[in-house]
């Protein structure tokens, strides 16, 4: 049983890795909580559902459609709201509230279009189950694990081996200095938005293949992504991988011992404890500038 719990924790950690890395890319580059990320993720899941179940298209079409739609929505959010915030040099508080409003708005829209009923791709997609030595892993779970490795590897290569990545990292490091050497903050913002929205879409696709969908699925996801980003500390994208596996494992251990309803509570408790005792994160000791006044 313990082995199954650990495997489930690893799989949950993989999906959280994909989710959190996309979120942490924005968090570490522009230093704000991209709350609307949760609704981009939920949208990805619903687009997959609509393509696969309603449209009857194969799974990969669903993934493609999810990535395209989510990227467009992500860019629209960036251009209508975040661009103005950057121009106004808004505080992280304004970013958070503005992004939160967009999240609420789009969740309402999702509920309006798809209804509040639980949705699932089960009627047309029945995943294969592999069994090795009393451990059960479904096909999408296995691919989630591979997907997490591939996605982080690709992001690592982009960030550390290309000029594009260098630009992103320099904006993350010091936006005004990056500006002086001719790096356009706005184009970096667009590129990071595209990458992060694609991550949200892929995560939504994986989740749609495994779980039931309701318009509210994005909310716990944002909470978890925020916790993971705080664990990693600002400016540490790949620390998010560690955070993702910590949350994934803790959740599955909790579900093993407690009723399943408490699963989402794990991230909330970790978040509260972190905010109380280590707001700077576990992997770094540097607090984000605007939080340092008396902490």
């Amino acid at each position: 049983m313990l082995r199954q719990v650990l495997i489930n924790g690893l799989i949950a950690g993989s999906i959280y890795t994909i989710i959190a890395v996309g979120f942490a890319l924005i968090y570490s580059t522009f230093k704000f909580f991209h709350v609307a990320y949760g609704i981009i993720f939920a949208l990805g899941a619903y687009i997959t559902y609509a393509c696969v179940l309603t449209g009857g298209y194969p799974l990969w079409i669903g993934a493609l459609a999810a990535v395209i739609v989510c990227t467009i929505v992500g860019l629209a959010i960036d251009q209508t709201a975040y661009r103005r915030f950057r121009k106004q040099q808004a505080s992280p508080l304004s970013f958070f509230l503005g992004s939160f409003g967009i999240y609420i708005l789009l969740q309402g829209a999702l509920a309006y279009i798809f209804g509040n009923r639980t949705r699932s791709v089960r009627p047309v997609y029945n995943p294969q189950v592999f069994e090795f030595a009393d451990i059960y892993v479904t096909e999408p779970q296995f691919f989630t694990f591979l997907g997490a490795i591939a996605a982080t590897l690709v992001l690592y290569l982009v960030l550390h081996k290309t000029v594009l990545g260098l630009r992103i990292r320099s904006v993350a490091d010091n936006p005004s200095l990056a500006n002086y050497v001719g790096i356009k903050t706005e184009s970096v913002a667009m590129i990071t938005t595209i990458i992060s929205s694609a991550f949200a879409a892929i995560a939504g696709w994986f989740v749609a293949l495994q779980e039931n969908l309701t318009p509210g699925i994005g909310f716990p996801v944002v909470i978890k992504a925020s916790v993971i980003s705080i664990i990693a500390g600002s400016g540490n994208i790949f620390g998010a991988i560690l955070g993702a596996f910590i949350i994934g494992l803790l959740e599955n251990i909790a579900v093993w011992q407690l009723p399943t309803q408490y699963k989402d509570g794990v991230a909330l408790v970790v978040l509260t404890l972190l905010l109380l005792f280590k707001p700077a994160g576990i992997l770094t000791s540097k607090l984000r500038e605007d939080q340092t006044q008396d902490a």
Partner: protein, 288 residues
């Protein structure tokens, strides 16, 4: 029709109380909370449970609701006094989500998702009025008294100290002000008054469940405070009235009620973002 108008007025009064309570934290002290529906819920549940299981009289359960919400406010203020800005928002969000989780799963006390029904509503039969009218006669004086208490406190040095902390924490503490103690008191007061509002709500609708006090309520009341200008009593009364009355207009359309809920959600979300985008000074305006 008169009954309908009266029932809206009851909600207006309750939301005015709720919004002014939040403004003690957000407007005066600069502690922006996006989880205040949790205190509203704690007040509502405390009063409802005391009223249904112990048969406590209305007046006593109102007081207990305020006290218990205040106690939870003290717990929630642990992160509130330490964090600022978006980290504080996350902290209050986590707190409210935890409260919802407890309300949903502590079934022996809260009856879980099914909620609490048949909450006793105080009917003052000697007034010889329908229950809606008599409830307005109960809610209005309570709201007015609470607003008066808040006003007196916030005009007094207490309120000015809070504003000083909000505007510049460092210089406030250099003047010998115990910042932590004042933030703590402001947050507890804000929570207690919100709890009182929640109790008034519970005894009016007579049925509450955890989903009644979700994130939408927190957002709505925060919009009321921001739109109302943060510290302006008149502004908040106006914005709370408008934002309570306008969604009611949706009921007169032919949209099914499930879709109305989604539309309301879209309105609240859009409004919050629009306020932040088009009135960029709105949050710093709270500082004027």
């Amino acid at each position: 029709m008169l009954e309908y108008v009266t029932s809206i007025l009851v909600f207006v009064a309750i939301y005015i109380l709720f919004a002014t309570s939040l403004s003690i934290a957000v407007g005066y002290t600069g502690l922006v909370s996006i989880g205040h529906a949790a205190f509203f819920a704690i007040g509502a549940y405390t009063s409802a449970i005391l009223g249904t299981t112990l048969g406590l009289p209305f007046s006593l359960s109102l007081i207990c609701a305020a006290i218990s919400a205040g106690l939870f406010g003290a717990i929630a203020s642990l992160p509130a006094i330490k964090l600022r800005g978006d980290f504080l928002l996350l902290g209050t969000l986590a707190f409210s989500q935890l409260i919802t989780l407890i309300l949903k799963n502590w079934t022996s006390v809260t009856n879980g998702d099914a909620g609490i029904t048949n909450i006793p509503s105080p009917l003052y039969s000697w007034l010889n009025l329908g229950s809606v009218y008599s409830y307005l006669l109960i809610v209005l004086p309570i709201t007015v008294i609470c607003l008066w208490i808040q006003k007196v406190m916030l005009v007094a040095p207490f309120g000015r100290v809070l504003k000083a902390i909000r505007d510049n924490e460092t210089s406030a503490s250099s003047l010998g002000i115990n910042v932590v103690s004042f933030k703590l008191r402001a947050f507890i007061l804000s929570a207690a008054f919100s709890g009182l509002g929640g109790a008034l709500y519970a005894h009016y609708v007579t049925f509450i469940k955890p989903d009644t006090f979700g994130i939408n309520e927190s957002v709505l009341v925060l919009i009321m405070v921001i739109l109302g200008g943060g510290t302006s009593l008149r502004g908040i009364i106006l914005s709370a009235s408008i934002l309570t009355i306008i969604p009611e207009a949706l009921r007169f359309t032919y949209i099914p009620s499930a879709e109305i809920a989604s539309i309301r959600q879209m309105i609240y979300g859009g409004l919050l973002t629009a306020l932040i985008i088009f009135r960029p000074k709105v949050l710093s305006d709270l500082r004027k």
